[in-house]
């Protein structure tokens, strides 16, 4: 939809008195202003869906980066199946076709009482509703010896961009009989199946280019997302469980990695076991993004507790939190879930603007994971609140891929790629 068509549609609805968000405006004599902090999957979706519901309100998206690089799909970049440029894009679509004000700056303080933001530019910004979608912050203080500087040598590649390319270059330069260590964090973290998709795609590349090399996954968990399907694929394609396995999975739940020695390229467990790797992909534990921590929106867990009915913070009234930063468990921290959370948040705010109660939320999550260059598995769940308005295990329905013949897995890979392009457009208005 272009701007002209959009305005035409808006005009039609407002002439008929059905722009419900206008109720608010008549009362206050000025346009309602919704501000969104963070232009990832959650923030971008919230902006676009608010505009779909409320053609006449003012919507601002605060994001310091003018080019966003998406994390989903970046494992394909690591093994040369995709270019990073295919995951990088700006906010022109949201700005031009959906009349979203894009503010390329940072928020330095939130005054939730007077509903004002202080910006890095020195300006203040008034809001009527505020949405935080700040993503994750990587914790550098949990693995002894690790630091942000050291991530230039031992990449996490958990925020796509230069880290992704660094890991790609290290894998490409791996010795023929080299070892890759993948060290995922404990739950909860961004993209639960991500480390295992990464192992699968690196193994696929090794099988062709360096069949004597090996990947060790050193996991602080006892089990992982889509485990049975991943292990079935690894047995079939990567000799998993045999002497020649390209992937080994070690659960170190009782003896997790606690330190790294950069000099000897070694990670050490709590009881002193050592693992040496030519490439060490250390994915550190995470919390909600820095702005959420600085503004007091996080609890002891490091994530933002929310009322799932409205997505509002339990700690600072009137602030909505969506995406990875929010404590939406058992909904996983994924781009797809952030998109779904953003839609419900936008709907809730739109209803609030016309003095209506929020509707019962229904969240969807679908994650496709590549297991080879042309096969994928998926997990898909639908989440609702239970009778006491809580998010609980009881309210989950769905499941993982049940058809695992090669044709079905190839079909899932095709659908996964297509669905991802649709998701990007649904969030960022890319029109691709």
């Amino acid at each position: 939809m272009n701007r002209r068509q959009f305005l035409k549609a808006s005009l039609a609805s407002s002439l008929l008195g059905l722009n419900a968000c206008a109720n608010w405006q008549i009362r206050s004599q000025q346009k309602a202003h919704v501000v969104i902090i963070g232009g990832g999957f959650g923030g971008a979706t919230a902006a676009r869906y608010l505009r779909l519901y409320c053609p006449e309100i003012r919507i601002s998206l605060i994001e310091p980066k003018t080019v966003y690089t998406a994390c989903p799909g970046s494992n394909r970049v690591i093994t040369g199946l995709a270019e990073l440029a295919s995951l990088s894009f700006g906010y022109q679509g949201l700005n031009q076709a959906y009349d979203i004000d894009i503010l390329p700056t940072r928020v330095t303080a939130i005054d939730a009482v007077s509903k004002r933001l202080q910006l890095q530019t020195g300006d203040h910004l008034r809001y009527d509703h505020l949405i935080l979608a700040p993503g994750i912050h990587l914790r550098w203080d949990t693995i002894e010896g690790y630091s942000e500087i050291l991530s230039q040598q031992f990449p996490h590649a958990w925020q796509a961009g230069p880290q992704t390319l660094l890991l790609r270059d290290q894998i490409t330069a791996l010795p023929d009989n080299g070892t890759v260590l993948i060290c995922p964090p404990a739950d909860p973290y961004r993209c639960p199946p991500g480390p295992y998709e990464r192992a699968s795609l690196i193994a696929h590349w090794l099988k062709r280019h360096k069949p004597r090399a090996k990947i060790l996954i050193l996991d602080p968990k006892r089990s992982f997302s889509k485990q049975a399907l991943f292990e079935q694929a690894w047995r079939q394609h990567y000799a998993y469980g045999s002497e020649n396995a390209l992937i080994e999975w070690h659960s170190l739940a009782d003896n997790p990695i606690q330190a790294i020695d950069p000099k000897s390229h070694t990670v050490m467990t709590e009881f002193g076991d050592k693992f040496q790797g030519d490439v060490i992909n250390l994915i550190p534990p995470q919390t909600a993004g820095q702005i959420a921590i600085e503004t007091g929106l996080t609890d002891q867990s490091g994530w933002c507790p929310i009322n799932p009915l409205t997505s509002q913070s339990l700690l600072i009234p009137g602030v909505h939190v969506i995406g990875d930063a929010g404590h939406y468990a058992p909904i996983p921290k994924s781009a797809f879930a952030a998109n779904s959370e953003a839609k419900h948040c936008a709907l809730s705010i739109s209803l609030m603007l016309q003095d209506q109660d929020p509707t019962d939320p229904v969240w969807f999550n679908t994650c496709y994971s590549a297991i080879t260059d042309d096969q994928a598995i998926s997990v898909s769940h639908v989440y609702r609140l239970d009778s006491e308005h809580r998010l609980s295990q009881a309210s989950i329905m769905g499941g993982v891929s049940s058809r695992t013949d090669a044709d079905s897995l190839k079909q899932e890979a095709v659908f996964g790629q297509a669905a991802y392009r649709h998701l990007l457009d649904d969030c960022f208005a890319l029109n691709i």
């Binding site: 039609a12 209506q356 392009r421």
Partner: protein, 101 residues
């Protein structure tokens, strides 16, 4: 897009006696989730177009997926989480989009 805009206007006219916006229905949240994977009205990229279809046919297809009468990779898992009446309401609503996308 022009087709969808005119749909919207027609629907808005139909609902103009109602006090609230046409999107403020309990089913809207469910419908919005469909567009994460079925975004493009024209370019389907291997994934079916869902807006503007015959509601009876779409409803029957979705129920066939749900009850295993029609094979599919992912839709049966999602649809088992929805009631038959939700599926029928989604199919009806998608045939007459409430908001332009």
């Amino acid at each position: 897009m022009a087709r969808h805009t005119s749909h919207t206007i027609v629907l808005v006219l139909c609902l103009s006696s109602l006090a609230e916006a046409s999107w403020a229905s309990p089913i809207q949240g469910l419908i919005d989730n469909c567009f994460a994977c079925h975004r493009h009205p024209q370019q389907s990229q291997g994934l079916p177009v869902i807006e503007g279809r015959n509601p009876q046919e779409l409803s029957q297809l979705l129920l066939d997926y749900k009850y295993g009468r029609q094979p599919a990779t992912l839709m049966p898992r999602i649809l088992k989480a929805l009631s038959d009446s939700e599926i029928q309401a989604i199919a009806l609503s998608l045939s007459q989009p409430a908001i332009p996308r």
